[in-house]
């Protein structure tokens, strides 16, 4: 067995505080990054970039954002796609009014706009919890849907109500092939993942988790609930906003308000439930699941038909819902911390092997 901690001792607190404390984890992650950055771009097909990797990465980013709020800070948001919509439309308007602005700047500004709105919709969390907060965030979703469908200014008075974007440019580089989009998104997602990891291991992350686990004790320690909750809403909405802007510009290219509907919001929630609440890794696992399952099912169709089972496309999409439903119920009841938790337990067993005590 190669995965273990035996014989790896930490002599400084700094070593102990590393994100990837175990050598094998470090190698694995660096290997994965090298593979994703150096091998995949040459080897992947356009279909793979467009249908799998790009949506997977962007949706992972949004799921991380939602996980910071729900999994780490214990607040609920049923309308997180609304913040993606805000990011997307903010980016669209910034590009319309300031053409030629570096896209990275556009992304950051879009994230900031979304963060501001996030703070606004986070205000109810100071008074209400749980189900009632859920309903308040749902109201945010419908309000935002309504605004982008009705207020023509946001869509630059386009007659159809939809908006379309030109290829993204920065530093004289035009990102137009799926491969280039993939590389750009990958780098953005890596940077934001690292930042999320840093936040949750810093004192701000601890104050979020303290609010989640025992709010009275957190207050007694001196944590301000308002600060903890609103920063969680802001950061979470920032992530969603950046993800939304990339979804609009790099994945869809042109979109209608319905692109960021309640269905999208619920999918994000499913991702973190299945992948793992309070886990960055879990956000990726959940996103992979939700993106890949429909594809896997459609691939499996001919196979099932060959086996003599008559499954048509309609049936397959029902099957998709049934599998999601079953998994969500399973994880909510049996393992609320999701696949990431199952994975962590397995790792912990291995980690001390061969001396479990």
């Amino acid at each position: 067995m190669f995965y273990r901690e035996n014989g790896q001792f930490k002599s400084t607190y700094r070593e102990d505080q590393q994100i990837l404390g175990i050598r094998q984890d470090r190698w694995f992650i660096f290997g994965l990054i090298a593979f994703a950055l150096l091998v995949v771009p040459y080897w992947g097909s356009d279909y793979m970039f467009r249908a799998i990797l790009i949506p997977f990465l962007i949706v992972s980013l949004a799921a991380i954002g939602l996980n910071l709020l729900v999994g780490y800070c214990g607040q609920i948001s049923l309308g997180h796609a609304a913040f993606m919509a805000i990011g997307a439309y903010a980016a669209y308007n910034i590009v319309v009014h300031f053409p030629g602005l570096n896209f990275i700047v556009v992304l950051v500004l879009a994230g900031l706009v979304s963060a501001l709105v996030g703070i606004l919709f986070g205000l109810p969390s100071l008074q209400i919890k749980g189900l009632y907060l859920g309903v308040a965030t749902l109201a945010a979703q419908f309000f935002v849907d309504w605004v982008f469908a009705r207020v023509k200014w946001f869509t630059n008075y386009s007659s159809s109500g939809g908006v379309s974007t030109a290829p993204v440019e920065m530093f004289g580089w035009t990102i137009d092939t799926p491969m280039e989009k993939y590389v750009f998104i990958l780098v953005v997602v890596m940077v934001f993942t690292l930042m999320a990891k840093n936040l949750v291991r810093g004192h701000i992350g601890r104050s979020w988790m303290a609010m989640r686990d025992m709010d009275v004790a957190a207050e007694v320690i001196g944590i301000r609930p308002m600060y903890a909750k609103l920063t969680a809403f802001a950061v979470s909405a920032f992530y969603a906003g950046v993800a939304g802007a990339m979804w609009g510009f790099l994945h869809l290219g042109s979109w209608e308000p319905a692109a960021f509907s309640i269905n999208f919001s619920l999918n994000l929630l499913f991702m973190i439930i299945i992948g793992g609440m309070g886990s960055i890794l879990g956000s990726f696992i959940g996103a992979a699941f939700i993106v890949l399952l429909p594809l896997a099912l459609s691939q499996a169709l001919p196979l099932l038909n060959n086996l003599g089972l008559k499954v048509d496309t309609a049936m397959a999409s029902h099957l998709e819902f049934m599998i999601f439903g079953a998994l969500i119920v399973f994880f909510l009841i049996v393992e609320p911390l999701g696949i990431a938790r199952l994975w962590a337990v397995a790792k912990e067993k291995l980690r001390l092997w061969p001396f479990p005590h």
């Binding site: 607190y13 700094r14 505080q17 930042m195 999320a196 840093n198 936040l199 810093g202 004192h203 701000i204 992350g205 601890r206 104050s207 988790m209 303290a210 989640r212 686990d213 025992m214 009275v216 004790a217 957190a218 207050e219 007694v220 320690i221 001196g222 944590i223 301000r224 920063t231 950061v235 309070g278």
Partner: protein, 261 residues
């Protein structure tokens, strides 16, 4: 008897009344706490002891009275101000952060001392990193002091009850409080665990000079470690003085010591 150098009054509770609807939890309670002393609050179940601590650190807001802390007069406390001005607290029913490790629980107790902004933390810039390491070092002292080194990375929920109580104490200690409010720190412990906890409380008092306000049911413990005792019964104060005085007070004996002791 341990050598004592009790100082001036650091906390003065004046005419506090608190009620929940019809329930009068505290009625016109006054007492003071002197610097460096161990002050016990005793009384039967439901006497209002926990409510008293909750008023002192701003979890509850009394309808009447005032609290004078370090010379500053306040109608009532708010939790943030209490924490910031050095009032620490443990809980009668464990209130640990269940999803976090022992280390993170105690680190969170140190959060007030940590000031770097969100962006610096997200980017893990020099100041944020240095701050994290510096405070970690302090927290490690707390962990050593409480002898829970072996549990550093254990999720608190998986520890035995007695050790969870220690983590609760560690979380409060991490903020280096001037006044430490302990709500039944030894409840539900066996003899040995109680002795350990007693030793920690006395060491905190001796080594750091921390003023201690302690709620405890075990009269032996109270008589052993406290300098002065307040007795509450049904929200009223019925006794106040040294352990000897209180022990011999007829009203106290009738209301409290008489039953079951």
């Amino acid at each position: 008897m341990r050598p004592r150098n009790i100082g001036d009054v650091i906390l003065d509770v004046k005419n506090i009344s608190l009620s929940f609807g019809g329930v009068k939890a505290l009625q016109n309670i006054s007492f003071d706490v002197k610097e460096h002393e161990v002050r016990a609050i005793i009384g039967p179940n439901g006497a209002g002891k926990s409510s008293m601590l909750n008023c002192i650190n701003g979890v509850y807001h009394p309808q009447e009275g005032e609290i004078v802390y370090q010379g500053e007069v306040r109608r009532d406390m708010d939790t943030h101000h209490a924490a910031e001005s050095g009032i620490g607290r443990t809980f009668q029913n464990l209130a640990l952060f269940k999803g976090m490790s022992v280390l993170d629980n105690i680190m969170t107790g140190r959060n007030l001392k940590m000031k770097t902004g969100i962006l610096a933390q997200a980017l893990h810039l020099g100041p944020a990193r240095a701050e994290e390491l510096r405070e970690r070092e302090f927290v490690e002292h707390v962990i050593d002091f409480l002898e829970i080194q072996a549990y550093r990375k254990t999720p608190v929920g998986r520890m035995p009850y007695g050790l969870q109580k220690r983590v609760d104490l560690g979380r409060a200690l991490a903020a280096q409080p001037k006044v430490l409010l302990l709500d039944e720190p030894m409840a539900g412990m066996n003899m040995e665990e109680k002795q350990d906890m007693c030793r920690f409380v006395l060491d905190i008092n001796d080594e750091f000079g921390t003023t201690i306000v302690l709620i405890e049911h075990d009269m032996g413990v109270v008589m052993d470690i406290s300098d002065r005792v307040v007795v509450l019964d049904y929200g009223r104060k019925i006794g106040d003085g040294t352990p000897e005085v209180v022990r011999n007070d007829p009203e106290v004996i009738k209301a409290y010591l008489g039953v079951g002791h």
